[in-house]
C-alpha cells in the first residue's frame, strides 16, 4: 500500500521580529515537520529609499547616508562612494590619504568579520564567541572614535581626503592591537571553528556551487567560500592595493563539499588575518602629508556617468553615479552585495532543516540596512 508521508505543509513566518534574522527580514518558510520545503525571503522592512534621499542632498552630505547602509562596515561603504565621486571628478589623493584609507578600511573589515563570526556562533547556539568578538571589535572602534569622533557612523572619508588625520601615536597602538589580535583569532578557532558540533552544523549545509554563485551575482567572502578566487582588491585595484601583499582565501572544503556554510565562515576568519597583514604594510607605508589637501571647496562634478566598485566585507559594493553637473547627484544606484546574495537564499535553503535555515542565513552575513537601503 502506498502511503504519502509528505504530510501537511505548514507556513512558518520567521521574522521580521526574530532573533536570528539579523535585522528585519521575513522568511516565509513552508515546512514539513523540521524540513523546509521552500523559504521565500521578504525584504523591505528597513527600506528608507536612500537612493531618493541622496538626490536631495549635496555630494558631501551623501556620505553620512552611505554610512547607514551597512552600519557594520560604514568605513567601507563611504569609501566606495567617495572613490566613485573622485573618479568622476578626477581627483587624485596623496599617499597618506591612500594609506590611511586602507588602514581604516581593513580595520573596518576586521570589525565587520568579527561581527559576522560572532553572530554566526550565536546563530549556531554558542553565545560566548559573540562577546569575545565584540570585545576585540570595541578596540577597533576605539581607534575609529579617536580618529573620527564616532564609533559606528563615521563620515570619515571625504571626497578628496579625510576628515581628520590620525592622532600621533595611533599607528603604534594599531600595530600593538594587531599583535595581540592575531593569536586571539586562533583562540576563537579553538572555541568555535574547529568544534566538532559547529563543523557538523555548518559543513555540508547550504551548499552554493561556484556556477550558482556566479549566476546569482554572489560576491565577496560568499563567492570565495564557493571556491572562486575573485577579489576586487586584486582584480581591479583601487587605492594602490596592487602593491600590497596578501592572499585571497577561498573555501577549500576541508569538511565536506566546497561552498558550504563552514567554508563561507572560514573564509571570513582567514580574511581577518589577511587584513591584519595589509594593515601592517599600510602602517609601514605612511608618509607625512595633508589629508585634506585635495578636498575641493565646492563639489560640483562634471555631467557624466561613472561606475565604481570596491571590496566591502560583505562583497563588492558598486556605485553607479549619474551626474547632471549640478551640486546634487542626479542618480546614485547602489549595487549591494547582500541584496544579490539574498536572492540566492531561496535556492540554497530548499530542502534544509529549520536549524539549517538559520545556519545558512548566518553564513551569508547579511545586513538588512544594506539590502533594503
Amino acid at each position: 500500500m502506498e502511503v504519502d508521508y509528505s504530510g501537511d505543509i505548514m507556513t512558518l513566518n520567521m521574522g521580521p521580529q526574530h532573533p536570528s534574522t539579523h535585522g528585519v527580514l521575513r522568511l516565509e518558510l513552508k515546512t514539513d515537520g523540521e524540513i523546509v520545503a521552500d523559504a521565500v525571503p521578504h525584504i523591505g522592512y528597513l527600506h528608507r529609499c536612500f537612493e531618493k534621499h541622496v538626490e536631495n542632498v549635496d555630494y558631501a552630505g551623501v556620505v553620512p547616508f552611505t554610512d547607514r547602509m551597512d552600519y557594520c562596515a560604514a568605513m567601507n561603504m563611504e569609501l566606495g562612494y567617495v572613490l566613485t565621486v573622485e573618479k568622476l571628478m578626477g581627483i587624485e589623493v596623496n599617499n597618506r590619504v591612500r594609506c590611511l584609507r586602507i588602514i581604516m578600511a581593513e580595520l573596518s573589515r576586521i570589525a565587520s568579520h568579527l561581527i559576522a563570526a560572532g553572530t554566526y556562533g550565536n546563530d549556531i547556539g554558542s553565545f560566548t564567541p559573540f562577546l569575545w568578538c565584540f570585545r576585540d571589535r570595541e578596540t577597533i572602534l576605539d581607534f575609529f572614535e579617536e580618529t573620527s569622533g564616532a564609533r559606528l557612523l563615521y563620515n570619515y572619508n571625504w571626497i578628496g581626503g579625510l576628515m581628520h588625520d590620525i592622532k600621533p601615536g595611533l599607528e603604534e597602538k594599531i600595530i600593538e592591537f594587531i599583535d595581540y589580535f592575531e593569536p586571539e583569532v586562533d583562540n576563537l578557532n579553538r572555541l568555535l571553528s574547529d568544534n566538532f558540533i559547529f563543523i557538523k552544523r555548518t559543513a555540508g549545509v547550504g551548499i552554493l556551487s561556484p556556477e550558482q554563485a556566479v549566476s546569482y551575482g554572489v560576491t565577496g567572502p560568499n563567492l570565495r567560500g564557493s571556491g572562486v578566487k575573485f577579489d576586487v582588491r586584486r582584480e581591479e585595484p583601487y587605492l594602490g592595493y596592487e602593491d600590497y601583499e596578501f592572499d585571497i582565501p577561498v573555501g577549500l572544503g576541508e569538511h565536506g563539499p566546497v561552498g558550504s556554510c563552514w567554508d563561507r565562515y572560514m573564509v571570513r576568519i582567514r580574511e581577518v588575518k589577511e587584513s591584519c597583514k595589509i594593515v601592517r604594510q599600510a602602517v609601514a607605508r605612511l608618509t607625512p602629508g595633508d589629508v585634506r589637501e585635495a578636498v575641493p571647496k565646492r563639489i560640483k562634478p562634471p555631467a557624466g556617468e561613472v561606475y565604481m566598485r570596491t571590496e566591502c566585507p560583505r562583497g563588492e559594493l558598486g556605485y553607479l553615479l549619474v551626474s547632471d553637473g549640478s551640486l546634487k547627484p542626479y542618480r546614485l544606484k547602489v549595487k549591494s552585495p547582500c541584496f544579490t546574495v539574498m536572492s540566492a537564499f531561496r535556492e540554497v535553503s530548499r530542502g534544509a532543516m529549520i536549524a539549517d535555515v538559520v545556519s545558512i542565513l548566518g553564513s551569508f552575513d547579511i545586513v538588512l540596512g544594506e539590502i533594503d537601503r
Partner: protein, 162 residues
C-alpha cells in the same frame, strides 16, 4: 565503522578543547566598565551633542545648508545701520541678527558636517552624551539670544527643502 569511532573521538576532543579555552577565560580579567559608576574618557574628537556659542555666531546659515538632515533652523534679519556694530570673538562683524537658532538633536545624524562648514568655529560637537529626555520636543535646543525687531515673516529663512 572507523569513521564512526573517529567521529566520536574527534567530537570529545574538540569539546574538551573548547571547554578548556572557555574555562581559561574564567580567570582572565573582565573588560566590563561599570557604566554609571565608572565613565569612559572620551577622545577629544568625540561627536556628541551640538553646541553653538551664539555670541560668536554670525548667522550665515552655512551649517543649515550643509546639514543632510535639515536639523538646524536659522532665522536672521539684517541689523539696522544705526545700530552699534557687534563683533564675534575672532573679529568678524555680525551683520545679521540671529533670532532663531534651533537644533533638533532628535533629527541630527551626528555627521559633523555643520561644524566644518561654520566659518567662525562657533558650532561644535561636544562630548556630552547623557541627554535623554522624556519628550521628543525637548531635543530641540534653542540657542538664539536676541529678539527680532522686524516681523518674522520678512526675515531670511532656512533655505527651502530640495
Amino acid at each position: 565503522m572507523l569513521t564512526y569511532f573517529r567521529n566520536i573521538g574527534q567530537g570529545i576532543m574538540t569539546i574538551v578543547s573548547s571547554m578548556a579555552i572557555a574555562g581559561r577565560h574564567l580567570f582572565t580579567p573582565s573588560v566590563t566598565l561599570q557604566y554609571p559608576k565608572e565613565k569612559w574618557l572620551l577622545p577629544e574628537r568625540s561627536r556628541m551633542r551640538l553646541m553653538n556659542k551664539i555670541e560668536d555666531c554670525i548667522g550665515c546659515g552655512q551649517c543649515a545648508r550643509s546639514c543632510p538632515t535639515e536639523c538646524i533652523l536659522v532665522k536672521t534679519e539684517k541689523r539696522g545701520k544705526e545700530e552699534a556694530p557687534v563683533f564675534a570673538s575672532d573679529g568678524t562683524a555680525k551683520k545679521l541678527r540671529t533670532y532663531v537658532f534651533d537644533i533638533d538633536m532628535a533629527l541630527c545624524c551626528y555627521c559633523g558636517l555643520c561644524t566644518f562648514a561654520c566659518p567662525t568655529q562657533c558650532l561644535i560637537m561636544t562630548g556630552e552624551y547623557e541627554y535623554s529626555v522624556y519628550d521628543k520636543d525637548e531635543h530641540i535646543y534653542h540657542f538664539a539670544a536676541e529678539k527680532p525687531l522686524t516681523v518674522a515673516g520678512e526675515s531670511r529663512q532656512n533655505p527651502p527643502e530640495g
